[in-house]
Assembly symmetry: C2
Homo-oligomer: 241 residues x 2
């Protein structure tokens, strides 16, 4: 009874659930996507199945089709949700035409996202098609639009905005995929698929690879921030105010 009357869409009454088993409370596109992200983080993309996702939500799998057109669409939704939530971050506002400061904060935020969701980021970077008329390197139209909008609002020309956009994206893709390639930081199970593949080739075949200490391949935020500064400096030099 109380349940039914309570269905104002705002939802101030936070159920404060655990986190993984989302339990009841009727389904919802957003809730489905969040559950999917959590499943991917825990078990890897390969394990994300409509049926398993349904079960995780206490529902029969086929029920998801009432909220989402299909699995591909779900993946698109995940990409958008994960990348777009950065835009709503209150720290991410440009202050006084300082686009360099904005980009610095944005880069660090994207990096945090990539590291928080190591199995989702490759999706963000390599998801096929989307709309054929444009396919941004980070697969969110809204993110891209906001990026360009912000650069223009800072007084940059169209050409400058696009050049900065390209340089920034290529920087992020390269550095973040490098970071994610390293030995799993602590993101335990993810990727340790039961369908484990060929046993490690004997290290003897690759002496140099075996000799370097794993730490030198590790994600390194100091290095990231330093290279980021160089990039911003170079971009600023190209498009001086």
């Amino acid at each position: 009874m109380a349940d039914a009357d309570d269905s104002t869409s705002g939802g101030l009454a936070d159920p404060a659930e655990g986190e993984t088993v989302t339990g009841r409370g009727s389904l919802d596109r957003r809730r489905i996507i969040d559950a999917a992200v959590s499943l991917i983080d825990q078990f890897g993309l390969r394990q994300l199945t409509m049926r398993r996702l349904g079960a995780h939500l206490g529902v029969e799998g086929m029920a998801l089709y009432h909220y989402i057109p299909g699995r591909e669409s779900l993946l698109d939704g995940i990409v958008e949700t994960v990348i777009d939530e950065l835009l709503d971050d209150s720290e991410l506002v440009v202050v006084g035409n300082d686009w360099r400061g904005y980009l610095r904060r944005l880069a660090l935020a994207v990096r945090r996202t990539a590291i928080a969701h190591p199995e989702v980021f490759p999706l963000i970077a390599t998801r096929p098609s989307m709309s054929p008329w444009t396919r941004p390197p980070l697969r969110s139209l809204r993110w891209t639009e906001t990026f360009l909008r912000t650069m223009k609002d800072c007084g940059l020309s169209d050409e400058a905005a696009i050049a900065i956009y390209r340089g920034f994206c290529s920087f992020l893709l390269g550095h973040l995929l490098l970071d994610l390639a390293g030995p799993p930081v602590d993101r335990a199970a993810a990727g340790t698929d039961p369908a484990t593949r060929q046993s490690a080739p004997d290290a003897g075949e690759y002496p140099l690879l075996a000799s370097i200490e794993p730490d030198s391949m590790l994600a390194n935020s100091v290095e990231f921030e330093q290279e980021l500064e160089w990039l911003l400096h170079r971009l600023a030099a190209m498009f001086a105010d």
Copy 2:
């Protein structure tokens, strides 16, 4: 008869087949992998199926398991084959400790590969796990070993070799994924999956995105080579001979 005696592994007798329908001539790990690459190039990764791959080779699908442990292993094989064939390129030899020249040639070769196999490169950049003890950003142990070996042979220290390796990989990943993100150059069908997804959102929602001319997002080899020079210059400055 002649066939059996002819099985010296060199294989001078080139059958000079068409290219896609590889037809008979008994199966072979290498032939299977090549066929898989060709299928991915034509129809996209999603369409690569053990059964379809079998059919493409004139065989029943289950037959592939005599040569390859499973689909995951096949994908690993594809990644290695595509990236490793660069190493055998005769132009790719270091001459007189000129590691910059070597890296320049290597970068261009990797770029050609990425553009020739746009659906395979994301695999090279984001394939999960491999051996847990090390997972290079470009997923080939042999490629990585050769890279480091070459740098050391040019007289660079371990630290320099690794730093250069990281900088180089991150550069390639960023720039090549940016290139592949652009509008499909001519790689027709690939990615135009029949399972096409949501109809394009009306361009009105993203005015800036809609206003920029697609060309400005296009793969641009001049820009690539220029940025490559800057990278090599910077690396050389850090690790002067």
